[in-house]
Symmetry: C2
Subunit: 422 residues, 2 copies
């Protein structure tokens, strides 16, 4: 059997049962955790932390070799003191411990991590007892800024809590060299290329001009399983406001695509490029849009030589979110009714309660899943007047987590714009 | 010889030469390090970090058992990302390592440190290889604020970089119980009481009402060497705007007084209270006032049973600072001279150059001491006009670190107000 063929996910999972775990990398993959999202909100303030902690707990249970983050760990470029303190606690609590590290780093650690002021990965620091190393790029929410070009990831790296890679040093558009982190476990060798978020248009132009270089290892270059972690627009928002998959080199085996919050974690095969793309999506719902409806998952990525399997693991602590579309003109409500506002209110309240009911039936048996769901009613009110949303909110405050923005009124379908908060 | 008498510093250092180091605590004491002070200033921005790093290096060279900080580690309540990142780096670099911890903690660690979310001191965390533990209270610059009542010290503690104590939980004025950190090395036992900065007036009132309780260990209470770390006004700024030494309990042996920036590190004996007070002062000059003229030192505190010795160690990296007083009326300058402004300028420039010259002659042979000194000329210009300070600054920009505020003009001596930036 030729295991070095690039069939990847298509290979049956039997491969992974067959082989000793000492040859198989086990990796937790998650991205866009947006720690600190709505942290001042009494109801939702802890959501981002709870779900990220769940991801860390799953990583621990699954005894993964390491955790791979795809950017936007923090929601704010300058996370609050509370947020940073909570985050440092989480990493220290869950990623330090006695579990031995069963892989080696083969790349030059100074090249990968020297920018942090320490010459090695945290698990090779004799003063830190790391159980689960974390490798992370930065996202657009937590990208480097200021005179020192630092980001929150630098603060964590200074304390030895994460291994921050993919920080390209391209202040001028001279291009970017992407040097991989090279890891070996038994007979499996993986190369992790990372590129922290850059303005899409700038990166688009650099790709077009051939200024993005992937520095492949000179030796046995065909033996490596090649991962690329990227945090950019994947879907076209404008002419150059995204990175087409065709820009990426075809020697890659698996692209972990951050930034897009929709969970499309199941690897999709790009026929042209002959690589897979997995888009884990966010671990917290940051906008009440269609893209966040898909249940949230993190990945358990297993790699054996040139084969991989990506199992998706549901994040059960994520707040439930349901949405429906209502066209008032299709209801039996009479716009001329003198109590029309009250009747619309009752009509919409019924819709909300029905969604809440659905949520309740679909709850995980998991104490960390919040009780109150997020509910969004998109309401085409053509021929009607919008109702008093404040009064509506007051009636829902005990039932939903987002009472103030349940309703989204529009006249024409084209008016709806997705709230972007990637 | 009765070693348990409270003669303290008065005992000859012979006591410390006589005894095995395994019974003697060696402690680096420093306070008011004000990391991040003027961090945006191209000339002075690194001063606070350089001198704090010198303190850490001295601690390492002296192989101290631990470092004791007296508050105002940070200049800003919310230190910048750069500042926090630099600080975390410094602690990880200098306070982690293979040096064994030669003392034990006898107090309940959860009581002392449980508020950090971790149940023990960092040197007892099996996942951290701490060489020099840091114990710190907070100051008024870096005190807990916000809904979670957190401060920058909490962020450091979350990462296991410091042991934050003395965080009293007195939101209402119900009083405060000060529970000591109890440490033992050989036959020496020390109790470190700490109280992070509280508004002076509030603390004054609590003391007056008997609401400040020092919780002494029940056993062998006379055997402990009792240290109190406090960060309050020591000199009276108003009726209740300071803490009189007489408020402090007389069972104390040594008070480490933070907040006051003047270096009065040599222990002063309070006859009434029968304890010593050491005021280490800041490690960076934060105001061009008399109180900062005294050369900066940190303490090397040695304790054997009830005896101590506090050696002061100069911080050679501190920027030089000289000040002089000029009374124009006592010069030969004629106010009626048509070139009087130019002549005053030349006259004052001479004074500045003379001070710079003095600084140059008094430099340490130490590469980390900055070249440009801080110079302050207090100028009584009664009967004259003040000169153009901007032009004066331009001529001094290459020579002094504070060209824009060299000159302080006043008419009457009583007008001079010390710039307070404790
Ligand atoms: Mn993003
Ligand atoms: Mn995002
Ligand atoms: Mn202070
Ligand atoms: Mn201070």
């Amino acid at each position: 059997m030729d295991l070095s063929s690039s069939d990847g996910e298509l290979n049956d999972s039997a491969i992974f049962d067959e082989h000793d775990s000492e040859d198989v990398f086990r990796i937790t993959v998650t991205t866009d955790n947006h720690l600190g999202f709505m942290e001042k909100d009494a109801e939702r303030g802890m959501d981002s932390f709870i779900s990220f902690e769940e991801a860390l707990e799953i990583a621990k249970e699954e005894q993964v070799d390491f955790i791979l983050l795809g950017g936007d760990l923090f929601h704010e470029n300058k996370p609050s003191r509370d947020c940073l303190t909570k985050c440092q606690k989480l990493f220290r609590e869950h990623c330090f411990g006695d579990k031995p590290i069963e892989f080696e780093i083969l790349s030059d650690e100074v090249t990968n991590f020297g920018h942090t002021g320490f010459p090695r990965a945290n698990f090779n620091d004799p003063n830190l007892n790391v159980s689960i190393p974390v490798f992370s790029i930065h996202g657009n929410h937590d990208d480097p800024t200021g005179q020192q070009n630092l980001c929150a990831m630098d603060t964590l790296a200074a304390a030895g809590l994460v291994n921050y890679f993919g920080k390209s040093n391209t202040s001028c558009d001279q291009g970017v060299n992407i040097v991989p982190v090279l890891l070996q476990k038994g007979c499996t060798k993986i190369a992790i290329y990372g590129l922290g978020a850059i303005k899409d248009e700038r990166l688009y132009n650099m790709f077009e001009k051939g200024l993005v270089q992937f520095i492949r290892p000179a030796e046995d270059s065909d033996d490596w399983f090649n991962i690329f972690v990227i945090h950019q627009n994947r879907s076209a928002h404008g002419k150059k406001n995204y990175i087409p998959e065709t820009f990426l080199p075809d020697f890659l085996d698996l692209v972990i695509w951050g930034h897009e919050h929709e969970c499309r974690i199941r690897p999709e095969y790009n026929e042209l490029q002959r690589f897979f793309v997995s888009q884990p999506g966010s671990s917290v719902i940051t906008s009440l849009s269609e893209s966040e409806l898909e249940p949230k998952h993190i990945g358990l990525l297993k790699i054996y030589k040139k084969n991989f399997k990506l199992e998706s693991v549901p994040l059960r602590s994520v707040r439930q979110f349901m949405m429906t579309n209502v066209i008032l003109a299709e209801s039996e409500l009479n716009p001329a009714d003198k109590n029309i506002e009250l009747k619309i209110e009752q009509y919409l309240a019924k819709k909300v309660l029905s969604l809440i009911d659905k949520c309740q039936k679909n709850r995980y048996c998991y104490e960390k899943q919040p009780i109150k769901p997020l509910i969004r009613i998109k309401c085409d009110y053509t021929d009607y007047e919008p109702i008093n949303e404040i009064r509506f909110a007051q009636k829902m405050v005990d039932k939903v987590a987002n009472p103030r923005n349940i309703l989204q009124f529009y006249r024409k379908p084209t008016e709806i714009k997705a709230e972007a908060n990637l």
